[in-house]
């Protein structure tokens, strides 16, 4: 049976590649997308989500969510994803409209309808899920699992240890942890194990498809910015998380006590993974440690082929 999922995203170049994977996969059944601020403004990420779905040939509904973090000031738009959040790529406007309802209401309604079989996949800040949990206290029992691209058990990107999605709204991720939903954290420590070389990029994305021009444009921008920040090769964080959500068997993980630093400072938004053998803290988050690189690469390549 296909896994029923909602994808919460903030496209975002890596979100775009993650969506490309998701729409091509026969293992998941996408209920709809929800959008959040993050890689750009809510308005821009929503427009991008709409047009990306159209590009990838999907009729999926899209619900708009939060335009800012729960309690802290927005950190501004990062340069990582270019002026329009997708590396300047101009997408054909979708004829479809955004749904009227809020993301959190749509998430709850779908969770009820799925009767405990719903998986959430989040690729941006966790604000929408947090608001859903605040508004609907019984939501946790209707969620099977939430797969989160966010956090890190080693180094960060925004700060020495803090990763952008959690850093953008740390309280939101702590809220998700507090809800005692089954959380799988695909953090930077894990996505960093999926960096591809330029040659591997060619091998994966080289085949000419109806989407390849747009993908090339986005990925070239993404690679350029990563290299500018001293990162070698290319990592597509959200795509790695999506690959894990689609095929959990490609990931090695272990459950640890995890909490988020919520006090402003150099550690703000750090996901604290308590690896002490003698820790008495509750083990609450399934932390992905490693992703099978070959399996990931093959999945990307195969899914690109879907768009021929």
């Amino acid at each position: 049976m296909k896994k029923r999922v909602i994808i919460d995203c903030d496209p975002g170049i890596d979100d775009a590649i993650a969506l490309m994977l998701a729409f091509a996969s026969s293992d998941i059944d996408i209920a709809f997308l929800t959008t959040c601020f993050g890689n750009n403004t809510l308005e821009q990420t929503t427009e991008n989500a709409l047009n990306l779905a159209y590009l990838f040939g999907s009729n999926v509904d899209i619900y708009k969510g939060a335009e800012k973090p729960l309690f802290v000031k927005p950190r501004g738009i990062p340069e990582f994803h270019g002026i329009n959040g997708i590396g300047g790529a101009k997408l054909e406007p979708s004829p479809r409209k955004i749904k009227e309802e809020y993301a959190w209401d749509a998430i709850y309604k779908e969770a009820l309808a799925c009767n405990g079989e719903l998986t959430l996949i989040t690729l941006g800040p966790l604000t929408n899920v947090a608001i859903a949990l605040y508004k609907y206290e019984d939501l946790p029992k209707y969620i099977k699992e939430i797969v989160v691209m966010g956090g890190s058990s080693s180094f960060g990107n925004e700060l020495p240890f803090s990763e952008a999605n959690v850093f953008s709204d740390p309280h939101a991720f702590q809220t998700v942890i507090n809800a005692k939903i089954k959380v799988k954290m695909v953090g930077l420590n894990a996505t960093e194990t999926t960096r591809v070389t330029f040659d591997e990029m060619r091998e994966i994305f080289g085949v000419k498809t109806r989407i390849s021009d747009k993908l090339d444009q986005m990925l070239e921008h993404y690679l350029r910015v990563q290299n500018k920040y001293g990162e070698e090769k290319l990592v597509i964080h959200d795509a790695a998380a999506m690959a894990v959500a689609i095929s959990p068997e490609i990931a090695e993980s272990e459950i640890y006590p995890v909490s988020v630093e919520l006090t402003e400072g150099r550690m703000f938004g750090r996901t604290i993974v308590d690896i002490r053998l003698h820790s008495k803290a509750e083990k609450n988050v399934d932390v992905v440690r490693k992703i099978d690189f070959e399996a990931y690469k093959n999945m990307l390549k195969q899914m690109v082929g879907f768009y021929k």
Binding site: F155, P160, G230, G265, M267, I275
Partner: protein
């Protein structure tokens, strides 16, 4: 070859004791003085333990000075659960007959550094309180410090909290002073010290050698193992403090990374954690101030401990 002048600030402490043996045995190090600090136990007890070790090894010519009773902003919380009520439970050594010098730890450090023709290396394997006060009180002597080799902190792991290690947890403010002094640091945190194990099945190596130094170490290991192979669930005893000494004797034993290193004072969950920036250089917003040590060659490290014991045994026989 001239020996490297060092001052060791410590709070013995089982692993401190073994670290001291390594320093005293080494022909690479000239131990100019030992200062004590409250940490594993009160400064009174860590001082007694230091004197006992020097008397056992016949190295009573080395001056010992008593350090601060408490961290800069907190009060000391002794680790009876790890080191016992004496701070060094296990071995039975006679009460010391020697005494510490009249100077305070901070004054002794300053005196040695002032009088030294060469730059002096500081080693701190307890809370960094004395070193912090020395750095604050003697800014003109910073130039005469070669580097500071430390046991404390961690990149991935703490022990007292998820991210804060005992020595820094006791006195995060002092640790911040050390990290921000601009003097290069070698930071041996739990990432490496939990790999620096004497495994349980290796304790017999020490017990089977008959001399007093080997027996002393065997007794230390037996007691230390109660906590570490029990509640802490390790395969043996971590030689935390020995890493800070061994690195000065043979740097090739260790794998380390240049990085900006600071101490977090503000976090609710991260107070006392090390802020070590290992992101790509283009993202770092502070200059490197030292090396974060993350791995070691355990077998060669263990051999260095054994060789150190053997050397002191032979010195005692020849005395």
């Amino acid at each position: 070859m001239s020996k490297r002048p060092v001052i060791i600030d410590c709070d013995p402490g089982h692993d401190d004791a073994i670290a001291l043996l390594m320093a005293l045995a080494s022909d690479k190090l000239d131990v100019k003085g030992i200062t004590t600090i409250a940490g594993n136990n009160t400064v009174e007890k860590t001082t007694i333990n230091t004197l006992k070790i020097l008397e056992l090894t016949g190295m009573t010519h080395i001056p010992v000075a008593v350090g601060r009773r408490n961290p800069l902003m907190q009060t000391i919380q002794v680790a009876n659960d790890v080191h016992g009520v004496s701070g060094m439970d296990g071995p039975e050594l006679p009460d010391p007959i020697t005494k510490p010098v009249d100077l305070s730890a901070v004054e002794l450090i300053a005196k040695i550094v002032e009088e030294s023709e060469e730059k002096v290396t500081l080693v701190a394997v307890g809370p960094f309180t004395n070193i912090g006060v020395f750095l604050l009180a003697y800014p003109h002597l910073h130039d005469k410090i070669e580097c500071i080799s430390l046991m404390g902190g961690g990149y991935y792991e703490g022990n007292r909290t998820a991210l804060s290690e005992f020595n820094i947890w006791q006195d995060p403010e002092a640790a911040r002073v050390v990290m921000r002094s601009g003097i290069p640091v070698l930071l041996h945190g739990l990432d490496v010290t939990h790999k620096a194990l004497v495994k349980k099945d290796e304790f017999s190596i020490f017990r089977e050698e008959k001399g007093p130094i080997f027996q002393f170490v065997a007794d230390l290991l037996d007691f230390f193992a109660i906590c570490y192979t029990g509640e802490r669930k390790l395969e043996g005893c971590p030689m935390h403090d020995s890493c800070a000494i061994a690195h000065l004797i043979d740097p090739t034993l260790f794998t380390s990374y240049d990085a900006p290193i600071d101490i977090d004072l503000d976090g609710t969950l991260t107070r006392g954690a090390c802020i070590v920036d290992l992101r790509p250089r283009e993202r770092r917003d502070n200059p490197d101030n030292g090396k974060m040590v993350l791995d070691l060659d355990r077998k060669r490290f263990l051999n260095l401990i054994i060789d150190s014991c053997r050397k002191i045994e032979s010195n005692l026989k020849n005395a």
